[in-house]
């Protein structure tokens, strides 16, 4: 149980502190909201970049990657998108208040303080998620840039002279030029007795 009793003579400095503290309490919610707004705008830019990469460049870039790097990049992009979305949600919450209606008690000022504490927590989560999202995006981009390219599909031709396997260089005058392990080889298609696609050439 809290008891109140008269105190002694206060100092002017203590009064200044009390004024400053009351002002801080009054302003804390707007201050958190303001910070969240700035972070929200920053994250919006990040998400725009993420979507731009994931939806426009990603399809062509990622499909050229060798397995399993294409799947890894896909998962990284998905994780970046999830982290970014959840972060955006938290930042929006921090900036604009809870998405659900809160029953405000008669203690308006105290409810504001609790909201400020919650908003500050949402802001912290939002920032962490935004940073995580950016890191995942950068990792995904790095993989697409530096990851091993998918091997080009090869053809395996059987001729009376033997089997030739390699990637297609050109087709001209009824002859097919393949790049094989031992350089470019020209094969007259009329002599070919068999032709089949191969993911990789057998190493001889």
């Amino acid at each position: 149980m809290i008891k109140l009793s008269p105190g002694g003579t206060p100092t002017r400095a203590a009064h200044q502190r009390a004024q400053a503290l009351q002002r801080a309490l009054r302003d804390e919610l707007p201050r958190v909201r303001e910070a969240a707004l700035a972070w929200r705008n920053g994250l919006a830019g990040l998400l725009a970049g993420l979507l731009g990469f994931g939806l426009i460049r990603g399809r062509s870039d990622v499909s050229q990657l060798a397995a399993p790097y294409d799947a890894v990049v896909g998962l990284l992009l998905l994780a970046a998108l999830l982290a970014g979305s959840w972060g955006a949600f938290r930042l929006l919450w921090a900036a604009h208040g809870r998405p659900s209606v809160t029953a405000r008690a008669a203690l308006g000022a105290t409810a504001d303080h609790h909201e400020a504490v919650r908003a500050a927590r949402a802001l912290r989560h939002g920032i962490a998620l935004a940073v995580l999202s950016a890191a995942l995006l950068v990792t995904a981009v790095a993989f697409t840039w530096y990851g091993p390219a998918k091997a080009k599909p090869s053809l395996q031709l059987t001729t009376p002279a033997g089997t030739v396997c390699g990637t297609i260089v050109r087709v001209a005058d009824g002859a097919l030029t393949l790049r094989t392990d031992s350089g470019e080889t020209r094969v007259d298609l009329r002599t070919a007795t068999g032709i089949r696609p191969a993911d990789t050439c057998p190493t001889s």
Binding site: L4, G7, G8, H15, A24, T110, V117
Partner: protein, 102 residues
């Protein structure tokens, strides 16, 4: 009893009687970290509520920190009314006093 308030200008004054009056304030404790004192200002007579908490966002506890039981808190009028000559960003009528909370 406090005087009628209409034309009390803002003035930073203290009086031991203010603290005695504030000792009759109602105490609410909405949560373990918060105390809300409610009553009327001993100087301007306006209704006021004064919040004492142990944390404020971005404000280290060192300056406004938790008051252990039995400490003196300097508090002041935080009425919402207009008082002439009040500096920007200040609240109340300027009355301040000490209250012992235990």
């Amino acid at each position: 009893m406090p005087p009628a308030a209409e034309d009390t200008p803002y003035e930073e004054v203290t009086d031991l009687a203010y603290g005695a009056h504030a000792a009759t304030f109602e105490v609410e404790q909405p949560d373990p970290h918060t105390i809300v004192l409610r009553g009327t200002c001993p100087r301007c007579g306006h209704a006021m509520a004064y919040r004492i908490i142990d944390q404020v966002v971005r404000r280290p506890a060192a300056t406004g920190g938790e008051e252990p039981p039995g400490t003196e808190e300097t508090m002041m009028c935080t009425c919402g009314a207009e008082h002439a000559d009040r500096p920007q960003d200040y609240v109340g009528c300027g009355a301040f006093w000490n209250l012992t909370i235990s």
